[in-house]
């Protein structure tokens, strides 16, 4: 058993180098597109020159998708969460064709809930995964924490562009935790292998009985009635209808037709 298992592990080890890190970048569509940039700074976080600089940072995204940057002031979020708000903004701004959401990558700085949120939809959804969105906002939320909202937005769209072009997002902490988690899972699995293959198991009572010399003869069982007792225990009447209806659970998707996803971070 040792040799085949070791061979299998070695094969998996070598194979992993050839299958790891498969970038999921999509080649940009050639030619002009109908994609557009929308910047809506209702919270007044950016200066005019910063808005122009941000447009330049958002330009490369147009090869793949619409790009939107939104800010809302305190008391500006009627939906309770940054995620719900950005979904609504994306839909309202870029709309949809038939049942298909328009391609969009939208970034929100919500001064009401103090959150930043990166949202992608349409074909961009397959390129910016939830994990990517979480990692990017993890990398950029600190700028917002210090009030540098332009740097926050700029860094976000630059990382989005890098992801769209090369499929890579800078996530060192996630790599470290992934490595440690793999070591932990692997160590525990190997420990279970040790326990399974090296444990000493004792003979059961059934095994000992089989090895013995035994016989038994029995007679007819005599059942003697020893009387009975009676205990008063009335059945309680049930009040009202049995069971409750309960609310129907909210389904997936959402009011905006579902489909998009993203990740956010407080600041």
């Amino acid at each position: 058993m040792r040799k085949p298992l070791f061979t299998l592990l070695l094969f998996a080890f070598i194979l992993s180098f050839f299958t790891a890190f498969s970038p999921s970048a999509l080649a940009a569509e050639e030619g002009a597109t109908d994609y557009r940039i929308v910047i809506s700074d209702k919270a007044g976080l950016l200066e005019e020159d910063e808005i122009e600089a941000l447009k330049a940072d958002m330009e490369p995204v147009l090869q793949y998708s619409n790009a939107g940057f939104f800010t809302v002031p305190e008391d500006g979020n009627a939906y309770g969460s940054a995620e719900a708000l950005i979904k609504r903004l994306s839909w309202d701004t870029f709309g949809r064709t038939g049942q298909t959401q328009e391609d969009a990558v939208c970034f929100l700085i919500d001064m009401d809930t103090r959150e930043i949120y990166l949202y992608s939809n349409g074909s961009a959804r397959s390129l910016i995964t939830v994990s990517d969105a979480v990692s990017i906002t993890d990398n950029t939320y600190r700028y917002a924490s210090f009030g540098d909202f332009y740097s926050c937005a700029s860094a976000t769209f630059r990382q989005v562009t890098r992801k769209l072009q090369s499929g890579v997002v800078f996530r060192p902490m996630m790599i470290i935790t992934t490595v440690l988690l793999s070591l932990l899972i692997s160590a525990f699995i190997m420990y279970l292998v040790v326990r399974a293959t090296m444990k000493m198991r004792g003979a059961s009572s059934a095994d000992l009985q089989k090895a013995a010399v035994a016989s038994v003869q029995t007679g007819t069982i005599e059942v003697i009635d020893k009387g009975s007792t009676r205990v008063y225990s009335p059945i309680r009447s049930s009040g009202g209808g049995g069971g409750g209806g309960g609310h129907s659970g909210g389904g997936g998707g959402g009011r905006f037709g579902g489909g998009g996803h993203g990740g956010g971070h407080g600041f």
């Binding site: 070791f6 498969s22 040790v194 009985q209 010399v213 007792t229």
Partner: protein
Amino acid sequence: MYKCPGCGAPLRFDPATQLMVCDHCSRQLTPTDVNLLYENLSEAETNVRPEDYQAYVYTCPNCGAKLLSTEEAAVTFCSFCGSNVALVERLDSEEAPDVVIPFKITKEQCVSAYRKKLGKALFAPSKMRKDTNVERFRGIYMPYWIYSRDADGIVTTKGTVSHRRGDYIIKENFELREPVNGSFGGVAYDASSSFSDTISDAIAPFSATSAVDFKTSYMSGFYADVSDVEAHVYSDAADNVARDYFAEKLYTSDYVMHGVSQSELREKIPISAGKRKKGYFPVWFLANRSADQKHVSYAVVNGETGKVAADIPVSFWKYLIGVLLLAVPLAFLIYFIVTNSQELSLSPDMILFASTFLSVIFLLIQNSGLTKAYLKENLFNDKGYIFRRNLTKADMKPPAGYKIRYLIKPLIAGILSAIMSFIWNPDEDLIWYFAAIVVLFLLIWSVFDMVRIHNKLAKQKLPQFEKRGGDENA
């Protein structure tokens, strides 16, 4: 020593043929014939009582273990402490057992079965597989007490059946009486405090039908261990096995219908002790000394059935290589799934939340293992050993601090994870990641500790059988 009547060379008992064999002229005799040839020696000549037999007693100067043999030979290593030392010899008489199960498994078959067992042990140290090591298997007859129990009388049980009639619960009471007459024989427990219960249970059972009347000729080419445990030590255990058997045979639908459980029936069976015998049961025995020379692990093979039981420690370097070989593709797989999944993400708060529960699991596993390890290290897992030394529960309790150096790691990991997940909940990402890294590191260390605890369970301290002074290096 039995000599061939044809050529005078020594005879030995051959497990393969179950005959006394002369390796010089290939003559074969039954053990009975050989004993008949020698029984004419008078008691006066041998100075041995009829119920005893004459034996050479070999004592290990290192651990005090004793081995018996009907033949005089140089015994150059001890099967109990594994030390390479000449055992001290003297002639004595020993109480002969009533029956013996002769060796049926040859040494070659024993080694083959052991190698097969080792083949499944992925991380066993390489030195355990070496020929020079496995050749040290020694055939030893272990003394066993063989118990029998009789069940004779009336089994009386009380049952109750309840049912509802309107607002009343009616309980009908019954008494069931069943005559029983039966016997249960052949359940055996080892009568040597040097043979731990864990190992003897692992190679059990020996078949009662294989036992024959004892003849010293069966011992030719083998050794025997000294019996030093009284029969009453395992009497309760024999009762339990017999009760289980009778209860299974008696429990019918009548008892079920009248509300009597099998465990209730079991306690009511009238059991009495039948004839008790002492026997020699065949065991191939091997002691492997640890690298630090302070511990020993045993491998035993049932000489009748070939069942193998072995303490197999883990080579930590082999284990680490196995962990890394699995961890690398696993890391790439997790990373690939998480970064390409439409919905999944791997965040530190998820890791810490799961680690809270994982820490509890690791704590429980370690605690259980450490308790067993302490008992085994100190031979407190053998009833005979406990009896011989009049040990109490207080004597066998691990000292304060024995477990803490292991349990502290999953404990800190669990507390930190719980604080982060349920109490603190900070905004700063770096704090979450830092905590996750610390917790994961502690949990990995805990798993390595669990492997170390397994190694504790796979060995025990060098035995000391009422030894007086001296060791291998003295």
